[in-house]
Symmetry: D2
Subunit: 147 residues, 4 copies
Amino acid sequence: MLHKEPSGEKQNTLIRYFNSAPIKKVYGMTLSYSSSNEAVFDLPYNPNFDHALDAIHGGVVLTLLDNAGWFTVAQFYDVWISTADLHAQFLEPVAQTHLQGVGHVTRVGKRLAHATMDIKTPEGKLVARGSGTFAVSSLQLPPFKGR
Amino acid sequence: MLHKEPSGEKQNTLIRYFNSAPIKKVYGMTLSYSSSNEAVFDLPYNPNFDHALDAIHGGVVLTLLDNAGWFTVAQFYDVWISTADLHAQFLEPVAQTHLQGVGHVTRVGKRLAHATMDIKTPEGKLVARGSGTFAVSSLQLPPFKGR
Amino acid sequence: MLHKEPSGEKQNTLIRYFNSAPIKKVYGMTLSYSSSNEAVFDLPYNPNFDHALDAIHGGVVLTLLDNAGWFTVAQFYDVWISTADLHAQFLEPVAQTHLQGVGHVTRVGKRLAHATMDIKTPEGKLVARGSGTFAVSSLQLPPFKGR
Amino acid sequence: MLHKEPSGEKQNTLIRYFNSAPIKKVYGMTLSYSSSNEAVFDLPYNPNFDHALDAIHGGVVLTLLDNAGWFTVAQFYDVWISTADLHAQFLEPVAQTHLQGVGHVTRVGKRLAHATMDIKTPEGKLVARGSGTFAVSSLQLPPFKGR
């Protein structure tokens, strides 16, 4: 249950988990890790996720924030973690653009982990900023089953 | 820019807007209004939005929270409103279930509107609770263009 | 560590704890419990907590929100709990008025507890609304030592 | 109503405002600005603000977060701003220690301003992290009246 250091091996396992997730396919997101161990989510513009006025729905931004925080702190644990609290500030409306979400570790502890997350456009415009609190469970992550 | 009372006519316009949104189709959500003027979102279980361990992704819950708050407070305005802040508490993990999100008005003002939102299963289990702050713009809502 | 039902005895112990807290004296707050087991904090107007423009400082409202949530969920545990996340929406500015904060349980679990909190004036104006997430520790509450 | 650049003159006015606030005296906080225009609040340990178990009350941390964010973004406006949303993550319990709160601008706009805030001990331990959303009013700040 104690937290570990991130490693390339752990990151590869998490990327395989994410790639097997149905939600990855419907959104068309990809996960990678930066050299400073931040989870990086790239979402090419997908018009299926526009709202009625042809801009990108807030739920897309929220999904990226949740993912960026979760996959950043998950590197530190061998057990399942669950999002407990998520707070988002929406800073700019966005339409017809690629979005990138990046997570930053605030603290990893025995019971709780905390991260902040930023969503930007390729031009570097900060679209949303969030913070997440993640609860550490006692449930061992199952071995990756493939899909 | 001043806020108005909800009306069946305004609710029908908002439902038409929502029904024309691409995100409605990809999720398979429906919007209705309760007799007490709460926006009600129903999302039948859609396995496309599962995460890697076959439970429903947190982004789905966040999208429902955002929608339930936005469409509840939007009834009070003739102008565009935008989600400014959204806070979510995740209370229960959920798998393979219909979800329903309902919004409750806290306050509607000239510059900001506030709501709380609950997500439940059909059995009445409270899955998540959120609060949203919405900024009132000076942008008149365009006439519904159909789609 | 498992949660218990509230009781008058537990409420009296929590009131004694609160009454021995230095912060109770400097603010002049009182704690009671409603018949539906909500923690109720009353704060008579105290000009020492005004900000520079002679209205009540936001920190006062935040302190009441934290207290109302904490003492509502603390009834359910024999161990120490700590505030993990607190989100507040400020709805109305307030000056020279008594304030009352009330907590409402959302969920009490083995690891986390959740509550919502409202701050009102005596006229019933809703001043602020908040939500809190509280982490359940393994630290037994020490016997009340008096002061 | 449009936002301006911070200046030493504006910072001095804000410090004079803060120094005249009753809450400054009861807490014993001081405000300064860093060379990168961050509001910095220093609070020497004050046992009056302990809770019943002799650690520092969460309301103290919340008050510092609110102040650090407000006085950081206030530099950019000639009008009154009000805290609209505040989210706090409590990371470490603290007892008998000086606390320092620092604000960082996220975005300053015509209607809303956003900041993040950190609270640390003199040893650099991160005690709490928060984010604030501030609403820009049309109310001109009154000339400083002194006190």
